[in-house]
Amino acid sequence: MKINVFVTPKKNVLDPQGAAVGHALESLGFGSLKGTRVGKLIELEVAAADTPEFRARLDRACRDLLSNPVIEDFRYEVKE
């Protein structure tokens, strides 16, 4: 099973990296930019069945290690 975990800065948290990338996009002539946020993609490959217990463990891994809930949100996509 393959899992893509997306970690993004919370909407109300300052994202200096996103702001800098946004400025660079504007210099590139990429117009009408309303916002740029930079996050992370974490690709996992696991040998487990997609059960509610597994989802609970995955949630915990995302909450306790892969993201920091003070500053980041996470979501994931589970692919067979």
Partner: protein, 227 residues
């Protein structure tokens, strides 16, 4: 009264922190490796600066899962003293021993300079009465921008948990916060480096008083003896 200085792969201020307590304050100090499960009865645990685990994922995120951190958590829960400097502060926030988080500096620059810091009235040790209204300490970090939500900031203010504020904010930190403590008053963290501010060749000598201020919470006699 003994001090433990933790060492993680990538710690690079462990010897500075050791020197501060062993030579500066002349207290029995030893290193504790990140794989150790015991702090050997230390009264104060110092989590030093550096780039533990290469700052991978987020600063301090991986160090938090080192075996020694379970002992640090037990020590803190039992009321023992913990002091995190720079990366150590980031580790303590990641571990949930201090509230909030530290993100990339607003300027995106690594800032290496000596900062004037406003001393807040927080504890017996950390107050303008003991440290003076303003001290100077060096910083050296790329991720010192302190963040918490509105309710978190209100709690810090209400319980007087803010120790130091930048006079001229170098990193975009919320409310100019440079250092905080937990509500109970036994866990301390700051981005500035007292371990780089006590020798005559250092840019300031205010670091020694800061080290004493940490100890003052539980060992007031150490504060008196060393002043």
């Amino acid at each position: 009264m003994t001090i433990a200085v933790l060492q993680f792969p990538g710690s690079n201020c462990d010897q500075d922190a050791f020197h501060l307590f062993a030579s500066g304050l002349k207290l029995p100090t030893r290193y504790v490796w990140h794989k150790d499960r015991s702090l050997g009865g230390a009264d104060l645990v110092v989590v030093p600066g550096g780039f533990s685990y290469g700052d991978y994922l987020r600063c301090g995120a991986i160090a938090r899962f080192s075996p020694v951190m379970a002992a640090v958590r037990d020590h803190a829960e039992a009321g023992g003293l913990v002091f995190g400097i720079c990366n150590g502060f980031q580790i303590l926030c990641e571990a949930g021993l201090l509230p909030g988080a530290l993100i990339r500096n607003a300027s995106l620059e690594y800032r290496c300079q000596t900062c004037a810091l406003k001393v807040e009235a927080s504890t017996d040790g950390f107050s303008p009465r003991t440290l003076g209204a303003e001290i100077r300490l060096p910083i050296g970090h790329g991720e010192g921008n302190y963040r918490t939500d509105e309710a978190g900031l209100a709690r810090l203010e209400k319980s007087r948990q803010i120790l130091l504020r930048y006079a001229d904010n170098p990193n975009g930190s919320l409310s100019d916060i440079a250092g905080i403590r937990n509500e109970r008053g036994n866990v301390f963290g700051m981005m500035p480096h007292p371990d780089r501010a006590f020798e005559r060749f250092h840019p300031s000598q205010d670091g020694l008083a800061v080290a004493r201020a940490v100890l003052a919470a539980r060992f007031p006699e150490a504060l008196r003896a060393a002043s």
